[in-house]
């Protein structure tokens, strides 16, 4: 009896081991850009996705943080060298590095966030930030009492311009005569500058400010708290910084994107190419729990209406603020 039982146990154990060994065989890793983990933005979001993949699929994951831009190529190569099945390059700053590394390791699958590399082993994940920002613009315009709203960007790059374009289009669609103040801090890591720039905009009559400025945005939200006016956060739900002064946040579901792609590769239905996560696929949008608390029903209805119109293709949201 004991013999049989132990035999059974051994068989079960071997089976179990084999099973975990298989799951453990699949390795997915990511390389952060210079923002690193803890940026409360896209690096953290990507990590959340990877973490969830670890829990759901039992795969092995790891993260390498980059201290400088020159770390990108060695960090990406190191994960590929260690036999990772999928390696994520997080952030548009890593585009050139991935272009190089993806050709050096044609057998490894790579994922890129916020930019495009056209190689046969790369899936490029981009987001329709302009569509989500459009809804932020609608919310800002509806909630503003002064007739002036503001936008604060970090570095003036194509990506941030996309946020600006969507926001401005959203505001102008709802209230064509609304005044929109535009400011750029020029950096992503100076909350002090973000705060002062916001105070300047508030002084000029703005009462809602939408930001796409990384850590500068912490200052934007703190300024809104000080003046008891409103801010709209970005990337991750940022309401915890000032629960009564953050209307909502324009969230990018980078975590969902990373999880979906890793799952696809794990399940064998993965394909490379360019993937656009937009309003339709819930890849971007307003953070609703906070929005429901802070926005009036009228505003929520308007946001919903425009969301449907964008999904139906009735409204096409510009990607650059050129003609606004």
């Amino acid at each position: 009896m004991l013999k049989k039982l132990s035999l059974l146990l051994i068989v079960a154990l071997i089976f179990l081991l084999a099973n975990t060994a298989f799951a453990q065989d699949f390795k997915a890793g990511m390389v952060t850009d210079v923002g690193g983990l803890g940026d409360q933005s896209f690096n953290d979001a990507a990590y959340r996705g990877l973490k969830q993949a670890e829990e759901e699929l039992g795969i092995k994951i790891s993260v390498i943080e980059s201290n400088t831009m020159t770390d990108y190529v060695p960090n990406l190569s190191s994960l590929a060298e260690q036999g990772y099945d999928m390696v994520w390059a997080v952030g548009f700053l890593m585009t050139d590095a991935l272009e190089e590394v993806s050709q050096m390791y044609p057998d490894t699958k790579f994922g890129l966030i916020d930019s495009v590399v056209k190689q046969p082993n790369v899936v490029s994940v981009t987001f329709a930030e302009n569509e989500g920002s459009f809804l932020a613009g609608v919310a800002a315009a509806m909630e503003s009492k002064t007739g002036t709203v503001g936008f604060i960007g970090g570095m003036e790059t194509t990506l941030i311009k996309k946020f600006e374009a969507g926001f401005r289009a959203g505001v102008k669609t709802v209230k064509p005569d609304m005044k929109i103040l535009i400011g750029y801090t020029g950096v992503f890591d100076d909350p002090g500058a973000g705060k002062e720039l916001s105070l300047t905009q508030f002084n000029q009559g703005a009462d809602v400010i939408y930001h796409a400025s990384g850590a500068c945005g912490i200052g934007v939200i703190k300024a809104a708290e000080e003046k008891d006016l409103y801010a709209i956060g970005v990337d991750s739900p940022q309401y915890h910084l000032a629960p009564n002064n953050v209307l909502t946040s324009m969230v990018k579901r980078i975590d969902v994107a990373v999880l979906e792609e890793v799952k696809a590769l794990y399940n064998g239905n993965f394909s490379t190419g360019v993937r656009i996560y937009n309003l339709q696929s819930d890849g971007v949008g307003l953070y609703m729990p906070q929005a429901k608390k802070m926005l009036s029903q009228e505003t929520l209805d308007k946001v919903d209406m425009y969301k449907n119109q964008i999904i139906n293709g009735k409204i096409s949201v510009p990607e650059t603020p050129k003609n606004l």
Binding site: G36, G38, I182, G186, D189, D190, G192, T200, Q204, A215
Partner: protein, 308 residues
């Protein structure tokens, strides 16, 4: 409207200038005694972190200020030991401290709060309202109500000027920075004076750090000094190594920043935004290039002293 803009412009300038003034004063003391202190940036960062921690643990932001000043002095003491005692290259020591500061603060942030990037919100130092001045029109609007760091920085300029130019101690600081051997020959303890001056620079930079994390904001954010320590160094050079000069230079930098923000916000599009953002840095380069007349550092600045 115009007068309102001017008031808000000067208000912003003062707030932006306060941390620069404090750190630049620190630089003045250190370099006047002959020790280059490019570690200001790192000291500010560590102090900003410790100020947040102090306020977080006790709920009293002034304890945070004390913690910031204490740790500012402590890090500066390390710089002093390496530069004065071990006679290492002062720029290398400063650079090492700056790199160390960035690493240790983000590490501690993760250890203490298990969330990297930013700390939880803590109690910040409350604004002060000046009694009589606040009631005077315009002047009251500009000077009447600010974070205490603004007033402290202005008071410390006067104090530093007095200390450096009107007291025997100040004379000693200046003499060991100009000609340590001569100072030594008349019985001044060069090492001791330099130690005191460098540690003082840490105290000042510590205040500057606290002004960012619990004055301007109410939390610590990774790398939140964002180059202010270096701008402060430029202000010190611009101000020709004097407290009053550093004050004017820091105010000018603060003003340039405030002006660029206002111009952007008002949509003055005839100047490209990139140029507006560059303004403070262009001023810095002009300062470093000696446009304001020859900027001569103390003769023994950066040289370690070997007692014969």
């Amino acid at each position: 409207m115009l007068i309102n803009n001017i008031i808000s412009l000067l208000n912003t300038s003062l707030r932006m200038a306060a941390p620069l003034i404090l750190a630049a004063l620190g630089g003045v003391f250190s370099e006047r005694s002959g020790v280059i202190n490019i570690a200001l940036e790192g000291i500010m960062l560590i102090s900003a972190f410790m100020a947040m921690v102090g306020s977080y643990l006790t709920g009293n932001p002034w304890i945070g200020v004390l913690a910031a000043v204490f740790f500012g002095g402590l890090v500066a003491a390390v710089h002093a030991f390496v530069s004065i005692h071990l006679k290492a290259n002062q720029v290398v020591s400063g650079t090492a401290i700056n790199i160390f500061a960035a690493g240790v603060t983000s590490f501690m942030l993760r250890v203490m709060f298990e969330s990297a990037g930013q700390s939880p919100s803590v109690t910040k130092v409350k604004d002060w309202t000046l009694p009589i001045i606040n009631d005077i029109p315009i002047l009251g609007d500009i000077l009447g109500k600010h974070t205490p760091f603004v007033y402290i920085s202005l008071i410390l300029v006067v104090f530093s000027y007095w200390l450096l130019f009107k007291t025997p101690f100040g004379l000693r600081v200046r003499s060991v920075g100009e000609h340590p051997a001569a100072a030594d020959s008349v019985g001044i303890n060069v090492y001791k004076i330099r130690y005191i001056a460098v540690i003082m620079s840490g105290l000042f930079a510590g205040l500057a750090g606290a002004s960012l994390s619990i004055g301007l904001l109410d939390l610590f954010v990774e790398n939140m000094t964002s180059g202010r320590g270096f701008i402060a160094l430029a202000a010190m050079i611009f101000g020709k190594w004097t407290p009053q000069g550093a004050l004017l230079a820091a105010l000018l930098f603060g003003f340039a920043d405030a002006l660029q923000m206002l111009a952007q916000t008002m949509g003055l599009s005839f100047i490209p935004r990139q140029f507006l953002l560059m303004a403070p840095y262009i001023l810095t380069i002009l300062a470093l290039a000696g446009v304001i007349g020859s900027a001569n550092p103390p003769a023994a600045d950066g040289e370690s002293y070997e007692k014969e």
